[in-house]
């Protein structure tokens, strides 16, 4: 537990923190609003006394009340894991800025979070489903997901061979084989 790091964070991100900085074991946790993600992450990544170059993990969380996006960062300036929680996303339309401008490798993790929770990452160039079939309509890791009801909304119950995958919309669309750019 790095007490100094806690005070450093409190000083640096005084305006952005939406809750107290919590520490337990070897983890330091800060909570920010979804709108501040870009500023906070850029500061964490770029500033030499923070220098969080490693994005260890990016996870979506559904608490049943709100949605969260949780980032875990590593830096050589502190022995702790830094957990940044973008808190308070609405469950109806969760939106958060993408961090692919800092870590391009976050692209697939964001796609996964989108696929599982329906969290929209603004700025991710390729935000589409990654695990579930394209015609799948619900978000399996949400707390209100219940398999017999929710999967039934997707044509074929979400289980289809790749050739038969239908258009995501309910009305059938014509085939779109684009040969050359017009």
């Amino acid at each position: 537990m790095d007490r100094l790091f806690k005070s450093r964070l409190e000083r640096r991100f005084a305006d952005q923190l939406t809750g107290p900085v919590r520490q337990r074991h070897d983890e330091t946790e800060i909570r920010i609003a979804a709108g501040d993600v870009v500023a906070v992450m850029t500061a964490l990544h770029d500033e030499p006394d923070l220098h969080f170059q490693f994005l260890s993990d990016l996870a979506g969380v559904d608490t049943g009340v709100v949605m969260q996006v949780v980032y875990h960062l590593w830096s050589e300036t502190t022995p702790d894991w830094l957990r940044v929680t973008a808190d308070g996303l609405s469950r109806e339309d969760p939106r958060v800025p993408s961090v692919t401008f800092l870590w391009k490798g976050a692209e697939w993790m964001e796609r996964e979070a989108y696929d599982m929770f329906g969290i929209t990452f603004e700025g991710n160039r390729d935000l589409r489903r990654i695990y579930m079939p394209p015609d799948y309509q619900s978000f399996p890791l949400r707390k209100d997901f219940y398999l017999p009801d929710d999967a039934a909304r997707s044509p074929g119950g979400g289980v289809r061979p790749m050739e038969r995958t239908q258009a995501p919309s309910t009305t059938p669309t014509t085939a779109l084989v684009r040969r050359t750019p017009v």
Binding site: G64, K143, D144, F145, Y146, L147
Partner: protein
């Protein structure tokens, strides 16, 4: 890479040629079988004791402990009255569906216990609170429940299982182990006792046996009535 082109290739070729003559590692499976380690966990079999009876006592502990829930077992309890089953339906019924429903904020139906009489479980919650929902005090909880209802209703056992997190089969095992706990009202038990009274007493058989054999049996344990 070496300076002489092709030397690496030649070395590799020499190595394969050397291995060509080396002893082989293949195990000729159906003919010779490898020894399985003592600790190997993959055996799926029931063991028999030296008299040829199954060692399994249908205690359901394996089915409860199985982390991936691949064991499905059924059996009759020691008094031959209730059929107990533990397997995928119970597991999913108790764990998966329930927790999924609970978390998604939906009501949790319990069709498995519908045939049993509904009882008012208000008293039970008080008992559980008193024992801090701790499964370690299971016997005390069960005794208190029996004191409150006169017997152990299935719905109450189910509720205890839900709230304490102890497996239903474990509670059931505890309840059947102690002879003072019963699963039906005292009247039903009395009826069963009356039926038992019609049978010739066990002592009569033993006395006849003693007479026939002309010697005394071990007098240590009195015969149970």
């Amino acid at each position: 890479m070496s300076l002489v082109p092709g030397l690496g290739l030649a070395k590799g070729m020499a190595l394969t040629l050397r291995r060509f003559f080396e002893p082989k590692v293949t195990v000729m499976y159906p003919e010779d079988r490898r020894d399985v380690p003592h600790k190997f966990r993959g055996r799926l079999q029931l063991l028999y004791d030296e008299w040829g009876t199954l060692k399994c006592e249908t205690c359901f502990q394996c089915a409860q402990a199985c982390p991936i829930e691949c064991i499905d077992m059924g059996g009759i309890d020691t008094r031959g009255r209730y059929h107990v089953h533990w397997g995928a339906p119970e597991t999913y019924g108790e764990r998966r569906e329930e927790s999924a429903l609970r978390r998604s904020g939906r009501p949790v139906p319990d069709p498995a216990y519908r045939p049993f009489a509904a009882v008012d479980l208000g008293a039970l919650d008080g008992i559980l609170d008193e024992y801090d929902h701790d499964p370690a005090h299971m016997l005390a909880i069960l005794e208190a429940t029996q004191a409150a209802y006169g017997y152990l209703p299935v719905a109450a056992l189910k509720r205890i299982s839900q709230l304490t997190g102890a497996w239903y089969a474990m509670i059931y095992g505890t309840a059947t182990y102690y002879s003072h706990l019963r699963f039906e009202p005292a009247e039903a038990s009395a009826q069963a006792a009356a039926v038992a009274a019609h049978r010739p007493p066990e002592g009569a058989y033993l006395a006849a046996l003693d007479a026939a054999l002309g010697k005394r049996r071990n007098p240590g344990k009195p015969a149970r009535a």
